[in-house]
Amino acid sequence: MTALAARLVQAAMVAVLIGIATFVMMRSLPGDAAWRIAAGRYGYDNVDAAAADAVRAELGLGGPVLPALLQWFGDLLRLDFGNSLVTGQPVMEEIAHQLGASVSLALVAVVLSLLIGPPLGILAGLRPGGVLDRALLVVSTGLKAVPQFLMALVLIVVIAVQMRWLPAAGHGELRHFVLPALTLALGLAAVNARIARDAMARIAGMPFWSFAQWKGLSERQVLFRHGLRNISVPLLTYLGLQFVTLVEGVIIVESIFGWPGIGHALVHAIFSRDVPMVQGTALVLGLGFVLVNAAIDFAVRRIDPRQAT
């Protein structure tokens, strides 16, 4: 219960800090916001003084900082994120649409990475120094070293263009998930395979493991009864950290695969000084981070009650 309260306080602090930080950063960027917003709305062929003046008049830009910030917090308490300065649509609706796309992509990527990485890591960890272990070290180091941008292009060229198995880009159907999710998943799997491998090797060297084998359990039985639960603790803990990598990766992957997600939205909002949109997306990402970590803390406690002291 106290843990939950602590998390709530943490979430509130995150909201306040993100609100202030994004607001101050957006205000202190060089250049006139009305011009930037007008360029975002009407494009480079049509942005001119008349458009910038119309934007300035419509939005009442350039007012004092503090009232605007307090206004934003006030609206936030009523769960009102305001309207996008560029599209005029409610920020809440845009984020809901785009966050949904990002979250589904991220979830598929995490599941895919968990299907690829840990099983291979466990197999390698069971025979440390074996062929699979050495091969996995090379492959995972290699995969981790490849930038996601390059990985995405390689996958598109090989799987979409050469083999024609899957679409190169786009969204809306199940088949569009595979390549972007795989791009993200390979990077994640490269690391969690190593985590699983190290955890497995460590646990396989422990006395209780040998004891389980002595009492006559098969390798499979030992792994399923005594191994998996132990391995999942470092794996889950690391998953929380990987959330950052995931958000970072989603921004790049979304732009390459034309995915209408929150990373895409954030980049565009920053370019065109869409302050409510930047604040909204940053807030959602920040709170998402708190939520993911809280969920992982909770799960780890359930898996390993010893730490709950």
Binding site: G31, D32, W35, R36, A38, A39, R41, Y42, G43, Y44, D45, N46, V47, D48, A49, A50, A51, A52, A54, V86, T87, G88, Q89, E94, H97, L115, P119, L120, L123, L126, L153, I156, V157, A160, V161, R164, W165, L166, P167, A168, A169, G170, H171, G172, E173, L174, R175, V178, E219, R220, S255, I256, F257, G258, P260, H264, A265, H268, F271
Partner: protein, 501 residues
């Protein structure tokens, strides 16, 4: 254990396979543009290109005006009023008829938003029986061309909210929207009640994909049948790919340098001519843009009437450029940069990355200007910095791509850029002869000779320095036939395409 793992993966793959297979009867269009909102003033060009919304006036491939939702139009004797006869039996996608009142409503809303209509000398728009009349405070011969621009699209009254902001797109075009998901996608299907010939391909979709590499790969993999806006590198590769054809056409868009003619270094026309002589246009065109040739004057050949074959072409001559600058009192300093009265010939070139070729060309220009002793600092920033710098006078040079065909008659752009405030045109430059000529052309006086004379003044005075004429390229799958490419970028021409036998 390994066996279990392999068989699990195989099972997942098998289960997933049917879901991944596709039965595709939709024509997929991919371009770089994002749909912001169902709002004609910002994203209207996507709706007109996709054949969803229409304008009163259309333009053919040569820029000649053709009937759209208006069948004919005429100017009054004094030139102060235009009457447009509306097409009969046109219905909007929601089933309501297009009447003169609905057209006036759409135009009045468009006129209240930033755009070309806002700057016109329109006194009032009134609805008549099957026609509408636009009253002007001064003659404007090019008015019909302004009504061909995408922001003048005619939508049903239910398309607009109480404040005039777009809430949905209910047009009159051959396709009606079935699903609109900003910012990246739109699905549409043939509209049964269309007044013209029914489209041959019933279902179309639009996807916004901002990365040009991705778009090219989507064309190459056959994922999209119609891929718009390719970069030079992709064009040469896609040209060799089976199953894809690359179409290319010269468009009325020019790559140019906007010059602050009020800058102490650039106020003499001779100084601007020296900068122009320093530019190796053929080199930039072939190496960066992969076009056969650079620009020889501001207006590309596709801008009929304004392009003048007999005009002395802009040339490349470093020695002559140096000579001119020496004549203006510039002397080479120790580091090779010119100085005059203790001031270095150093300028900032502002450009924007929205068009990926601009920063590349800027880098080449830095080298070419250095060869005549002019130091360039490149500032790649938001596109709005150019008009903003124009307004506050801080701009030195701006590298930009200017479209003369947004309004099919270039007079609108010429008037705005070189006589009006000129956010994207001349800066601190005015020429009375030019202004008189252009205002006359706008009123409808003057023909080819006057246009050529105006173009010659720009060529001699160089308030802007032209560099290259653009080409638009797109890739079409051989699964479809009848694709064309519109130099005025008004339509993708989907309604004339059909599936290949």
């Amino acid at each position: 254990m390994i066996k279990t793992f392999v068989s699990t993966v195989a099972a997942i793959a098998l289960l997933a396979a049917p879901a991944l297979a596709q039965a595709d009867t939709t024509l997929d269009v991919v371009a770089q543009f994002e749909i912001q909102a169902p709002e004609p003033s910002t994203s209207g060009y996507i709706f007109t290109r996709m054949g969803i919304a229409e304008t009163l006036v259309n333009a053919d491939a040569e820029g000649r005006l053709t009937p759209g939702l208006a069948t004919e139009w005429a100017m009054s004797q004094d030139g102060l009023s235009w009457t447009f006869t509306l097409r009969e039996d046109v219905v909007f996608h929601d089933g309501t008829p297009m009447t003169s009142e609905t057209v006036v409503n759409a135009l009045e809303i468009a006129r209240a938003k930033p755009g070309p209509l806002a700057g016109l000398p329109i006194i009032g728009i009134s609805a008549g029986e099957g026609e509408l009349t636009i009253a002007l405070s001064e003659p404007l011969a090019a008015l019909p061309a302004f009504l061909a621009e995408y922001r003048s699209q005619i939508l049903a009254p239910a398309s607009y909210g109480p404040d005039g902001a777009g809430v949905q797109i209910i047009g009159t075009g051959p396709y009606r929207i079935t699903d609109l998901q900003p910012p990246l996608s739109l699905d549409a299907t043939a509209f049964e009640g269309y007044w013209g010939a029914a489209p041959q391909i019933a279902d179309v979709s639009y996807s916004g994909v901002s990365r040009v590499e991705t778009r090219a790969l989507m064309a190459e993999s056959g994922e999209a049948e119609f891929v718009f806006g390719l970069d030079p590198a992709s064009v040469s590769r896609l040209g060799m790919v089976e199953g894809t054809e690359v179409l290319s056409v010269a468009i009325p868009r020019t790559l140019l340098i906007k010059v602050n003619a009020g800058h102490p270094f650039l106020s003499e026309p001779a100084a601007r001519r020296a900068l122009s002589l320093a530019i190796d246009r053929a080199g930039i065109a072939t190496a960066v843009l992969r076009y056969p040739e650079g620009a020889t004057q501001l207006f590309p050949p596709s801008v009929e009437g304004w392009h003048d074959e007999s005009l002395t072409p802009l040339s490349y001559d470093v020695a002559q450029a140096r000579e001119i600058l020496a004549g203006l009192g510039w002397q080479e300093g120790a580091d090779g940069i010119l100085t005059r009265d203790g001031e270095r010939f150093a300028l900032t070139l502002t450009t924007y990355p929205d068009r990926p070729e601009l920063p590349l060309v800027a880098a080449v220009l830095e080298q070419q200007f250095r060869a005549i002793g002019v130091e360039l600092t490149i500032n790649t920033t938001n596109s709005s910095e150019i008009p903003a710098g124009h307004q506050d006078g801080s701009l030195d040079l701006g590298l930009l791509a200017r479209n003369f065909g947004l309004i099919p008659d270039p007079i609108g752009t010429v008037l705005g850029d070189y006589v009006g405030n000129g956010d994207w045109g001349a800066m601190n430059w005015s020429n009375d002869t030019f202004a008189t000529l252009v205002r006359g052309i706008a009123r409808g006086e003057g023909g080819v000779a006057e246009r050529a004379e105006a173009a010659a003044i720009l060529q001699a005075d160089l308030p802007i320095i032209p560099i290259a004429w653009y080409r638009q390229t797109l890739a079409v799958s051989d699964r479809v036939e009848g694709a064309t490419i519109d130099p005025f970028e008004r339509s993708f021409g989907l309604q004339d395409m059909r599936w290949a036998e």
